[in-house]
Every structure is written in structure tokens, then in C-alpha cells.
Symmetry: C2
Subunit: 353 residues, 2 copies
């Protein structure tokens, strides 16, 4: 098969981790007789520097024309201290989500046996954790009307959802639950928010179409607790944009494998695959960033965007092997153990595919 | 001294834990020559059952006239499955907060050395944790305009804050930080929300009045992570209502002492003291609920509402003693260890004051 992949390396360590994912993807393509055509495009701080906007139209067209987007990370410290600056890298992210219609952010949290002791949680609390959040990504308070009144003395943000927006996200949740243990948790704040009540009634009405799925409804504050106490009691969770932002990040650190977690954003047009970690500016250019989350994001891309399960499994297998054999970057190496450079890990993966 | 305390036992285990806190408070009052006049009043599901509303006017008047409010818990399973029911116990809570002007919810999270191994987190992650959240409690999306449009197909909630609302909460945060390690963290989502940008600019402008306080600004998603990773890196945190709801609950489970955490809500009129745990309906009437969070809430009341530090310390000392000697309810007793009834723990505290 032939694929066109838009390559959005972004800022900070983005280009370095993307580079290794490209190497591994190319090796897989060669092994399985596929052809990949990569088209690089600008986004984030580097796009602002080059053309003045964080998600240029040209980048958008490249993404729309591609079979998938592989994305690194965006963000630069020079924008960090002024969240109200007129042009910011994050705006590129939000614009990209909106314009590509990426309404569902798929965020798995699972454990690697060899990394379980990295977790801040006790082993018995996280063993067996394998959950997936579906976070709504193009609605809610992120995109609602916001502004100031009373000469700037009053600020407001509006959280809005339509039934159709909830339905399309929930549908993905039910379908995903059907492929797993058939447990779905709808996370809301229906005791306070009207949008949450719309979420809850919409999901409740869909239950009859998926009679095998057991749905639970939990408040966001209760989930924030139980994620720390019994993360392995969850399977598929669906939630709105802001709750998803908070809870997926919370979930990411419990596994001890945060630096390895891949993610996908899917929706109306091209799907996008990216590591959940950020642009890690302090490590830029040092060839020390861990490329595995990006490599595993490429595996998700092969499986979900191209339907190539075997190829995805081959990537996951070699990643597991590298972990077991300690071919890891310094963030994962034990205190006195040898560690490898970003590019060395990539080379090893390619050589051992 | 003489005190009038409004006693809002509420639902579920509320009356049982409140009972022990009253016993201990009376014993302290006797020992230190104070006089307490308790005035019971209805709130929550029991108020709905009795008079049709969850926070009756009579209860409000009793609270307004009191020197402090001691509160148990509210909530009943018969209201749990329909968050849009027209009258719900939680509405009583929100109405009480609003009418009493309780704009700051003070939520400490600390560890008891004897309970540290109850935590889902590894010992080295939580040792030394001693943080306090100040959650804004009468603004934000809880009280903004909300409703439906398009024949019910679109729902919306509005999050609103005024500069004055942020200032009065932040002032308490700065003042609290001054009595501790002078570290203040302002939690927001200023990269997305206009209300957060108002929070941030308001707090930034107040920094000059507290030159000794070091202020950090962190995004809510990052805090949700770091609370699990390095909870002891925080001291005083200030945040808006909804973020506070989620993060204080998350913080409460990391210490391993959730069942023991007291809280206060303070503002324009009478202050209110309550355990952070809920009404725990399954345990109602069994005399097994842990009364210590309520007893420690009474200690907060003696110290903060009445300025009686010695009395508060006496309560905390006897609670610590009970923990060390294993005079605890079944939730804290080891698997095969003897446990005590709610009322037995209270009796022991009184006898050992
Ligand atoms: C950078 C920010 C706008 C973004 C979000 O809140 O969605 C980030 O936290 C994320 O989760 O991808
Ligand atoms: C019951 C609910 C409305 C309430 C809240 O969200 O404030 C509760 O979760 C709390 O934190 O006291």
C-alpha cells in the first residue's frame, strides 16, 4: 500500500522524536512492502517564527490531503509567561483540532510490566491498568463565547454542547467498549452543569442501542479520586473537553509510563497521532528525549488509520523488547545504568524489527 | 467564653459523626471553661423530607445567628440517579454557600504518620505532604447562567468571575501563605479561558503587596499530574470553583487519610466546618463511620472561628493518640486488628482529653 503522511514535527524535542518515528515507520513499510510519502509542514512556535501564525493554511491543506498526520509537540518558553499574548503556539493546536474536525481524542493509559515501579502509585494499585479516555476535543468551554464586560472587570467563558456533538463522541465510546470489556463510564458534573445533564441524558438514550455495554455515570470529582485509588477499575471513559484535559493528564502519570503514552485524535477528516508529552524545551537538541511515545503513536496510526494490525504489533513488540533489554533513554534508565541517545534507541528499534 | 453553634447533621452518617464531634467539643469546653449552646437545624435530604426544601429559611437564620456552623454531610441515594430532579439535596449545599457568602473553601491535605501506608502512593512520594487548597466557592460555572436552546438540543453553562471575587479569595491565599512557607500556587487554565486570564492578571497585580510570597502559576492539567507525582512540592494553592472541586478531591485521596480530612468554608458571615467525606449511605445507622474528620473539623472551628488554639491542639493531640493506640473504626483498623464503633471512638477521645 501507499500512504501520504503529513509530518508536523513542531517545537522543542518534537523534531527529534519525530525523526525516530519516521525511521521506524520507514523500516516497517519496507519490511511489509508499503510506501510512505512524508510531507513536512510547519506548526507551533516554529510556524509563528517563520510565517507569523501557528497553523498556516498551507499546513492545513497538507493535513487535509494526507492519509494521516504524525505530530510531535508544540510550545516554546518564550510564550509561557503571557497566556494572553495575541499569537500563541497553543492557538495553532486548537485551530488544527477545529479545522480538521478532530472531535475525539483517544488517550490510552496502560502499564509496561518493566516500568511499573516507576509509578508514584504502589504496584498493587496499578497492575493491570488498561483504560482509554475518549475526550471530546472540539466543543465545550474551549470554543464557546468568551470575553470581558464592565470595563474588563468581569470575565466570562461559555461551555456549550449540542446533542449531536455528544452523540458522535459517545458513539465512538460505545463502539470502543464493544471491542473491549464492554464497560463504559460517562464522566460529567450533572449535579451542577446543564451541559453535563445533556451529556448524561444523551448517553442514557443511546444505551438501548448497545444492550451489551454496561454504562456507569460518575461525577468528575469522584473520577479524579478513583483514578488514583483504583485506576484498573476503569475501561473506556468518555467525557467533555475540559474534564478530559484534566483527567487524561492525571491518568497519564499513574502508570509510570507517561513518557511512553501515544494518542490519537480522530474525527471528520484526517486523523492525527501524537505522543502525549510536551515539547520539553530544556532537552531540545540534546538527543536525550524518549522517542517511544512517538514511535507508539506511529503504531496506532498503522493500526487505526491504515488498518494494518500486524505492522502495529511489530512496532509494539520491538518497543517492548527495547524496554526489557534496557535500550532506553536516560529518563527510563536506572540511576547507574547505561542510557542511550534518542537516535540510538531509534537505530536499535530499526535494527531489531 | 460562650458560643452558639448551629448543628447541621444532615443525612446518612452525618448525625452519627456529628454526635461524636459534639461530645468531644463539649468535653473541651468543660475542660477550658467555655459554654457551648448547640442549635440543631435541618439541611439536605432530611430537610426535603420534612419541609420540602434542602436549605430551609429557618436553617439559614439559625446559621446567620450562630458563631459557627458544624456540618455533617448531605446526600441520599434516592436522589442519585436523576441529577436533573427538581429538588435535590446538593441544591441545599449550593444555596447555603451562596446565602452564607462562603466564598472560600479551605481544604488541607496532610499525612498522619501512622496512616501513611494507607495511601495509594508510595511512601516517599507523600511523606511530608502538607498542602492547603483555597477553593473559590460562590462563583464560576456553578452559579453562572445556564440552560437550553434549540428545543433542548443545545445546552450551555457560563463561567463568570469579577476581579473583586478573585481578589477576596486571593487575599486569603496570600495571607495564608504568609503564615506558612510563603509559597502560593495559582491554578488556572489561562491558555484557554478568559476567566483564568482575569484570575492570573489579578493575582499578578497583588504580588507587589506581598513581596515575601513566591507565586507560581500553573495550568490545572499540570497540577492534576503533579499532585500525584510530588504532592509535597505544594503548599498553598488557590483556584476557582470547578477546578477546586476536582483537585481537592484528587488531593484528598493521596494522603491515605481521606476519612480524616477536615475542612472549613469561610466568607462574609458565619463560617462552616465539615468533614470532606460524604454521607456514606451504606453505613447509615451502623455506628461504624469514622468520626475523626468531623472531630478535626471541630478543632479547626475552635482555632479559626473562636481563636482558641490550645483547645484545638488538645483535640488534635487526643486524635493522634487514638490513632497511635489503634482506637479506630473499621476503615482504619488492619485486616485482623480489633476495630471500634463510632461512639466508642468518641467515648475514648472524651475520656483521654
Ligand atoms: C495546550 C492546551 C491548549 C491543550 C489543551 O488544553 O487541550 C493541552 O493541555 C492538551 O491537552 O493538548
Ligand atoms: C455535591 C456537589 C454539588 C459539591 C460540589 O461540586 O461543590 C461537592 O462535590 C463538593 O465538593 O462539596
Amino acid at each position: 500500500m501507499k500512504f501520504n503522511i503529513a509530518l508536523l514535527a513542531g517545537d522543542g524535542i518534537g523534531p527529534e522524536v519525530i525523526n525516530e518515528a519516521v525511521k521506524v515507520s520507514d523500516a516497517i513499510a519496507k519490511k511489509f512492502n508499503h510506501e510512505i510519502n512524508w510531507t513536512p509542514a510547519l506548526t507551533g512556535a516554529c510556524a509563528i517564527d517563520a510565517v507569523g501564525v501557528p497553523y498556516p493554511d498551507e499546513t492545513h491543506e497538507i493535513c487535509m490531503a494526507a492519509d494521516a498526520v504524525l505530530f510531535g509537540a508544540i510550545g516554546h518558553p518564550k510564550y509561557d509567561n503571557d497566556p494572553s499574548a495575541p499569537v500563541r503556539p497553543e492557538q495553532g493546536l486548537l485551530l488544527m483540532r477545529k479545522k480538521l474536525g478532530l472531535f475525539a481524542n483517544v488517550r490510552p493509559t496502560f502499564t509496561f510490566p518493566s516500568l511499573i515501579d516507576n509509578s508514584p502509585l504502589k504496584r498493587e494499585r496499578i497492575e493491570g491498568t488498561d483504560l482509554i479516555f475518549l475526550r471530546e476535543l472540539t466543543g465545550g468551554i474551549y470554543f464557546g463565547e468568551k470575553g470581558r464586560k464592565d470595563d474588563g472587570e468581569t470575565a466570562y467563558d461559555t461551555c456549550t454542547y449540542t446533542r449531536a456533538e455528544v452523540q458522535r463522541l459517545a458513539k465512538k465510546g460505545f463502539e470502543l467498549a464493544m471491542t473491549r470489556t464492554k464497560k463504559l463510564c460517562c464522566v460529567d458534573k450533572a449535579n451542577v452543569m446543564e451541559t453535563s445533564r445533556l451529556w448524561r441524558e444523551t448517553v442514557q438514550a443511546m444505551e438501548k442501542d448497545y444492550p451489551e455495554v454496561t454504562v456507569s455515570y460518575e461525577f468528575v470529582d469522584a473520577v479524579a479520586m478513583r483514578l488514583v485509588q483504583w485506576p484498573n477499575s476503569y475501561d473506556v471513559l468518555i467525557t467533555e473537553n475540559l474534564f478530559g484535559d484534566i483527567l487524561t493528564d492525571e491518568a497519564s502519570v499513574i502508570s509510570g509510563s507517561m513518557g511512553l503514552m501515544p494518542s490519537a485524535s480522530v474525527g471528520e477528516h484526517t486523523s492525527l497521532y501524537e505522543p502525549i508529552h510536551g515539547s520539553y524545551p530544556q532537552a531540545t537538541g540534546l538527543n536525550i528525549a524518549n522517542p517511544l511515545a512517538t514511535v507508539l503513536s506511529a503504531a496506532m496510526m498503522f493500526e487505526d488509520a491504515f488498518g494494518l494490525k500486524e505492522e502495529a504489533e511489530a512496532i509494539r513488540t520491538v518497543v517492548n523488547k527495547s524496554l526489557e533489554q534496557g535500550i532506553v533513554t536516560e529518563d527510563l534508565a536506572g540511576k547507574d545504568a547505561k542510557s542511550y541517545k534518542t537516535s540510538e534507541v531509534g537505530d536499535w528499534l530499526v535494527a531489531n524489527l
